[in-house]
């Protein structure tokens, strides 16, 4: 089976968003992921209710450096006596907020660019792919540091920068799929019927790519949460909020390593791990559902590359070859018809 047919299969499986959730729920691993993400969202929303102490309260001199106990489930910080459990709960907000908003925004921008490049082709395609090539060689983390320095350290700027430089991967994937969908019979029929380009893109092409987009978005969320933690760790996140990366930086700066305050390091690390892991789980399971050929291990490999900002690169490099080499072949009618709905 060629990679082209695999992509078509991916496009065919799945239906509405609700049926997707249902499929995930039926998958044992997917259920774990869904429950975890749901839990995190609840924690983030109800943070002020759930947190036993005020995490911003830095005046508890008597409570400094307490080990985990019933009173302070995860202990307190050495420097200011903040309750780590409460900080952890508040940190969920930052990670989820940045992860999800960036993921969704990247999904929109990446899908738009990918569909435009794939469907319109020609100059637009060339331009978009050249932009992708340029963005791929610029080192991401240093660039983000420079831009947050110039534009300010609010979450808005951080999300904006993540989106501006994070859409390339998704755009490539979507483009490859669109190049296949473009030649399917239902798109040709719509073209013959006189539908406008924009209409075809929105009504016929985009729905066929939706599953790939959702799948990628969960993985992007996971990747962005790691990146955000790193940025906060460097002290480049929003200075006003508590985030897991910042907690780790404070722990290191506050001598948690030196005084053996393992609880101060383990807690935020576990938070990052849990959030990233649950989003990743969902992404991997979706991949298994949509693309049965994809073994779990290879999706982890892809995920790994994803977190390194160059995921799927090689897979779709080889696909580019095919596209330029052979003319669009006649697709199996049943396959091309079932593409959207």
């Amino acid at each position: 089976m060629s990679s082209r047919n695999v992509l078509l299969q991916v496009a065919r499986r799945g239906g509405s968003f609700l049926s997707l959730i249902k499929k995930l729920w039926q998958h044992p691993k997917g259920r774990v992921g869904l429950i975890l993400v749901g839990l995190l969202v609840v924690v983030a929303v109800l943070a002020p209710v759930l947190a036993p102490y005020d995490p911003y309260d830095v005046t508890q001199r008597a409570e400094k450096g307490l080990r985990p106990s019933l009173e302070h489930p995860l202990g307190t910080t050495i420097t200011t006596g903040q309750d780590i459990f409460s900080m952890l709960i508040y940190g969920t907000r930052v990670s989820l907020l940045i992860g999800i908003t960036t993921g969704v925004a990247i999904a929109f921008l990446g899908a738009l660019m990918g569909v435009m490049a794939g469907y319109i082709g020609g100059f637009v395609d060339n331009l978009i792919m050249r932009i992708v090539d340029v963005l791929l060689v610029i080192p991401t983390l240093p660039l983000i540091i420079v831009l947050t320095g110039l534009l300010g350290r609010s979450y808005f700027v951080i999300v904006l920068v993540f989106v501006l430089f994070g859409w390339t991967g998704l755009a490539r994937v979507i483009r490859s799929l669109v190049l296949v969908l473009k030649n399917s019979n239902y798109v040709k029929a719509a073209e013959l019927a006189g539908a406008s380009r924009w209409y075809i893109m929105m009504k016929h092409i985009l729905p066929g790519t939706s599953h790939l987009i959702i799948m990628n978005t969960t993985l992007t969320c996971a990747g962005i949460m790691v990146a955000e933690a790193g940025l906060s760790f460097l002290g480049l996140g929003d200075p006003t909020a508590i985030s897991w990366g910042k907690m780790l930086a404070e722990a290191q700066g506050g001598g948690a390593l030196l005084f053996g305050a393992w609880w101060w390091i383990l807690a935020p690390g576990a938070g990052i791990f849990l959030a990233v892991f649950s989003f990743m789980r969902i992404g991997i399971v979706m991949e298994e559902i949509f693309n049965p050929r994809m073994k779990a291990s290879s999706s982890i490999y892809k995920l790994f590359k994803h977190l390194n900002n160059d995921y799927l690169d090689e897979v779709f490099r080889s696909m580019d070859d095919e596209e330029s080499a052979d003319p669009p072949d006649g697709l199996h009618p049943a396959m091309s018809e079932g593409g959207h709905d």
Binding site: D133, P142, L150, L234, L248, Q252, L257, I272, F277, S297
Partner: protein, 332 residues
């Protein structure tokens, strides 16, 4: 190797480099029309004339004393002489000089990390492919799922805590005198690697996982090819088939990821260098960031981008030698 293909790739790389350096010139100018106003606002006890002098001096330092177009031309001229400008640090050192001082220290980390993760990853990957479907394979898979979700700097902190402070096996922080005292003696080299042990470990974990999964998948893919079955049927030994037929071909997809990961490792070392206070390019970049030293920051960025472009180009051309089929399709 087709000559036209090679020339095309080189020209394209040059084009990308030109776009990148133009971006590199304009990025720090986003929202900053006058660095003097931005970084040196007037202070209380300062007369108008004093402030004018400071402003003029700052503009000259940042190169803002002429129009933007002239600045761009000057930037290109300097680049043609491999001059990335002058840092704002005390003593106005050249950016290229500063990068030259720090680059070897970053290379020590990234090259060693690459070698270690590549060799262990190859070993584990081949092993997992050999035992595919059995518990060893599953275990490796689960281990990689877990390690992917752990940020490298968290692993670095844990290693620094446990191996550095608790067991005292390796220095938890880099000895700040290491750089100055280095004199190529055997003892000095030992000190360097002793200090580098923890940063390398924390960076290598992700690489080991990545390479072992790549190797596993590509070895399994190659094992199912006809020529491997033929080799087996000829009665060749398992080892011969593994080394001469399977691994050689399985290395192909791996070679592309090596090229990309070299440039990624140098840029990605920023956070790890910060954790251990390792005096490499990452620390230099963060120092520059904290003092708004834009000539230095953009110089490092351009250097990293150029490195990435070069690494990609070399990988592409190298790939043609390894797998001559590439030129036939001629992508792009």
């Amino acid at each position: 190797m087709k000559k036209s293909y090679v020339i095309k790739r080189i020209l394209y790389a040059v084009f990308i480099f030109f776009v990148v350096l133009t971006l590199n010139f304009f990025i720090p100018r986003i929202g900053v029309s006058d660095p003097a106003e931005r970084y040196y606002p007037p202070q209380g006890a300062m007369s108008e004339i004093e402030y004018e002098i400071i402003k003029q001096y700052t503009r000259e330092q940042y190169g803002f004393d002429v129009s933007t177009f002239q600045q761009y031309i000057r930037y290109l001229q300097d680049l043609a002489h491999f001059d990335l400008g002058t840092s704002l640090q005390a003593g106005s050192p050249k950016v290229t000089e500063l990068i030259g001082q720090r680059l070897p220290w970053t290379l020590v980390l990234s090259v060693t990390t690459l070698l270690i993760s590549l060799s262990i990853g190859l070993l584990f990957g081949t092993f997992a492919a050999w035992k595919r479907g059995r518990w060893q394979d599953t275990m490796l898979l689960n281990a990689s799922t877990i390690s992917v979700a752990l940020p490298a700097f968290f692993i670095a902190l844990m290693l620094s805590f446990y191996l550095g402070f608790e067991l005292e096996l390796f220095p938890a922080y880099t000895n700040p005198n290491m750089v100055g005292q280095f004199d190529w003696s055997w003892e000095a080299i030992q000190v360097v690697f002793n200090n580098a042990a923890l940063p390398i470990m924390s960076m290598a974990l992700g690489g080991i996982v990545g390479y072992s999964q790549t190797t596993r998948n590509s070895v399994i893919a190659v094992t199912n090819e006809d020529f491997v079955i033929t080799a087996r049927a000829k009665g060749l030994s398992h080892t011969t088939v593994l080394y001469k037929h399977v691994l050689r071909n399985a290395m192909l997809p791996l070679s592309t990821s090596i090229g990309m990961s070299i440039s990624g490792l140098i840029g990605g070392a920023i956070i790890i260098e910060r954790v251990f206070n390792w005096q490499g390019m990452g620390t230099l970049f963060l120092e520059a960031n904290s003092t708004s030293d834009y000539p230095l920051m953009m110089g490092i960025m351009l250097f990293l981008s150029a490195f990435a472009i070069l690494a990609n180009l070399v990988t592409e051309l190298f790939y043609v030698i390894l797998d001559p089929r590439v030129t036939v399709g001629d992508r792009r």
